[in-house]
Symmetry: C2
DNA sequence: TTGAAAGCGGTACCAA
DNA sequence: TTGGTACCGCTTTCAA
């Protein structure tokens, strides 16, 4: 159905090779021939078959992206940023959602490898580095985003999570909170880093970390609202309730806020709240939410740059030195912590 | 680097054809040979090169998805639902974002055609049907979602937009609003259908449609909050302001709500509000937002079914009868209209 | 400046 | 049950 080089060659009494050269702007073709070919290409609405090209060149011009949840605005932002940059270079984005399931993620990665993607971008939910070691053996370039792994010297683009925690909890201290709680996420680097930052903020100000005030939840990016609601609800039953809460992400903070308001308490007067991620609608919530911005758009952009960089140089060289792009988080203060 | 059929054949002293047959569970291979081959495949971590397979079979096992904006939760939902179903059938999803730009959309479609996707799924932002006519000529199966075109008998999955408008505006009438405004979106079928439903609701109850109370905005899915804010702000300057507003989507409603609250008015007492889309966080807004649910998850699911159906039957047959899946919207009442 | 031949990694068809 | 051969649409190399 679709036109092929062969069709054009036949029509113009030329060889397939000549047409192919015109297609790729090869210099040694006469202007006249070039024009004839281009004209015919346009007439036939010719599009080169990228699968065929990939087969012979070994480059698919595909970037594989695996995220835990497409609905999460953070990953949506990243996907958008990535796709915008890649498009301009002729790359396509193949998208997979792991649903925060390590096994599913593995399957999706396998599928992407079968497609011979040129580079992988993964916000991984794995609990070991084995998968990535294997990628290295197979010389498949990859970039981790958002979540990283201890002891894996991989390309990484994300935010400094300890700084996120320090900033969020530090802000609560600065506005006068005395009993600061943390509602955290699953046991991945982001949640652990933010927890660590929270701890450092408290101890740095001579405040002890009370275990009853720290709740690490299974679901963070997935069903954050519910997680946050439950955790907060439990904390409000404590003999002495917290007067400030730093949450792993914005959905968690929204759920927590709901629990506070339902209990007849005020935000920020009784409980001040800080989230992470600075989602687009933070301003429109029950109480506009103070949040630590994770620079999601910048992450998409920088990831694209890094990924393209990996493709530009020879594989061995690219593999040699893994780059880490650590973005600085920024606090966006809104009503939920203004007192 | 990656193992090929040829490698396995050499290792086991078999022909490539035999290995290929094992790969595809062809019946006429002895159990013994099959086992040997499978064993070796596992050892080498063999993955068939899908580009090569696509080239010879003419099927890429790729579905192309084009949406106006990945960050919009509605399209995120759709992408997620689609990907979940397709994965199980071995399909990959190639994702493109058109940024609500018809020309960009056209480019992205071209790129997807070059990849020889098996089927296209498009939430189109085109202003003519020309593109889709061409797809039909080229016998490329496609499914429109969310937005459709007058006079184009295409496969479509979406919600009944007139019903959306009827439901949203009708609800405002039912709760006693007398002066009902509409903040609409760009000139695409969704916005026009909802406007039409709004009109029918009003005239059906003997209420005239005041042009000052209807504002159709350029940006709807893109920068909805700002659009809504501006439109509402303008309407509040009218000599007699509306006491109910039906909005094209939830972001628009959020912006509108902000304008109302900033003006010192109350929601829903002074102005009741209804949005569309029923975004996940509608419950957590300044005033929890009544919204007409668009069944985004169902849309993803049904689209996947329809798309797979197109691939199952011979092309001619599939092209013959375009299917329309029109989902019924549902009203979700929250505080913003409860009075 | 143009083109013939080989081959990328698979699958289809038919013969052994 | 197994395999030889041709070929999918394109690029690469080298010769004309």
């Amino acid at each position: 159905m679709a036109a092929r080089l062969k069709d054009i060659a036949r029509d113009l009494n030329l060889s397939v090779v000549t047409i192919s050269k015109v297609l790729r702007d090869h210099p040694d073709i006469s202007q006249e021939t070039r024009d004839r070919v281009l004209k015919r290409m346009k007439e036939l609405n010719y599009r080169p078959n990228l699968a065929a090209r990939a087969l012979v060149t070994g480059r698919s011009f595909i970037v594989g992206l695996v995220v835990p949840d497409l609905v999460h605005p953070f990953f949506g932002q990243v996907a958008k940023g990535l796709s915008n940059v890649l498009r301009k270079q002729g790359y396509s984005l193949v998208l997979s959602s792991s649903e925060d399931d390590p096994e599913l993620e593995q399957q999706e990665l396998d599928q992407l490898l079968a497609r011979r993607v040129d580079v992988l971008v993964v916000a991984s939910t794995q609990n070991s580095v084995e998968t990535f070691r294997r990628l290295e053996e197979q010389r498949v370039p990859y970039v981790l985003i958002d979540r990283k792994f201890e002891g894996l010297a991989a390309n990484f683009v994300g935010v400094d999570d300890a700084a996120v925690g320090l900033l969020g909890a530090g802000h609560l201290i600065a506005v006068g909170c005395k009993r600061i709680a943390h509602i955290g996420g699953p046991m991945v680097s982001t949640a652990l880093g933010r927890l660590e930052g929270y701890r450092r903020a408290l101890t740095g100000h001579g405040i002890g970390v009370e275990s009853a005030y720290v709740s690490m939840r299974e679901h963070g990016d997935d069903a954050g609202e519910e997680s946050g609601y439950k955790a907060m609800h439990a904390m409000l039953q404590l003999p002495v309730r917290p007067d400030g809460v730093f949450c792993y992400n914005d959905p968690t903070a929204m759920g927590a806020m709901k629990a506070v308001l339902e209990a007849g308490l005020r935000v920020p007067e009784d409980v001040a709240m800080v989230g992470c991620g600075n989602v687009a609608y933070a301003d429109y919530l029950r109480v506009p939410l103070t949040s630590v911005d994770q620079q999601s758009a910048a992450i998409g952009d920088r990831t694209a740059q890094l990924a393209l960089g990996l493709l530009a140089r020879p594989k061995a060289e690219a593999a040699a030195k893994a780059k880490t792009v650590l973005l600085e988080p920024q606090l966006v203060v809104r009503a939920s912590s203004r007192r």
